[in-house]
């Protein structure tokens, strides 16, 4: 059994993970439109990961005998000014997700629900990785000033990223 408070909070988080999927798809569409298909691929893989994060929680709520209620997804931002702009916004978004996961964990601890606590640990760790990956990418982009041959090299490199199931 989940308390109503935890069930509501988990449902809210499912919505946020699906929104993240949708936001990354929107970024992928923008990157396609400026012919940066490696970066577009990178964000397509990001979107698949977010989908997995949402579904992992979706299944957990059911396993705990809770009920998932899917809510409307708001419109993701579709206009960006540059590749650097996309990466900066995605870092900001990951930091927001980290904050939400931390608040969820605070609630689980407060309500002393060990199963939710242990379930959320995976997300806590995952967020460290998510933020680090985007930060590194941003640093590289700044190194090459977000343009020219360096950008092309980075685009080619990101084109090889593949979704690994379970991430």
């Amino acid at each position: 059994m989940l308390t109503k408070k935890l069930q509501d909070a988990l449902n809210e988080q499912i919505n946020k993970e699906f929104f993240a999927e949708y936001l990354y798809l929107s970024m992928s569409a923008y990157l396609e439109s400026i012919e940066m298909e490696g970066f577009a691929n990178y964000f397509n893989v990001q979107a698949q990961e977010e989908h997995f994060h949402a579904m992992k929680m979706f299944n957990f709520v059911h396993d705990k005998g809770g009920r998932v209620i899917l809510k409307a997804l708001k419109e993701p931002k579709s206009e960006y000014t540059s590749v650097v702009n996309v990466i900066e916004e995605s870092l900001e978004h990951e930091r927001f997700v980290t904050k939400c996961i931390n608040e969820l964990m605070d609630t689980a601890i407060k309500e002393n629900d060990h199963s939710v606590k242990s379930f959320l640990e995976w997300y806590v760790d995952e967020q460290v990785e998510e933020e680090a990956t985007i930060s590194k990418l941003l640093a590289k982009l700044k190194l090459i000033k977000g343009e020219g041959f360096g950008l092309l090299t980075l685009d080619t490199q990101l084109g090889t990223r593949k979704y690994q199931p379970g991430k």
């Binding site: 949708y22 929107s26 396609e32 439109s33 899917l70 409307a72 997804l73």
Partner: protein
Amino acid sequence: MLSPNLEKLLNDQINHEFFSEYQYLAATSYFESIELDGFANFFYVQSQEEHFHAMKIFNFVNEKNGTVILMPIKAPKNKFDSVMNVFQVSLEQERFITKCINELMDAAIKENDHSVRTFLEWYVNEQVEEENLILNKIGKLELIGGKGDGLLTLDREFANRRFDGAGHKVEV
């Protein structure tokens, strides 16, 4: 190049397909809550297919140098009265999608855009299959009166359904 009209209609269709994905996920959740995990799996596979349908259009618009603009996705129906009710809602949704695809095809023909026309043929055929699939399950549900042993048998059968990742259903 896509005409602004076709680009807009294709973007609308991406939204409809993502909504379908979301509606089928809500159906999955309903079935999980009444402990019919085979039915839940059936609708989860449905949702994966709809995601594939949306992404196929997404990629096509990009290939045609159009711009994909993602729009808000409305909340799906989360509460259902019965197993049958879910299938009726699904049939309604599939018929709506068929209508949208037909209108898209009408627009492509009117604008004489052959690439959009041949692209949409896959969806025209897919919709015949989609509607038939749901109708077939409704027929079976009617046969067993939507309950009892028959429902359990169907639930077991539905547990084997898989999505192969390339737009094909695998009915085991």
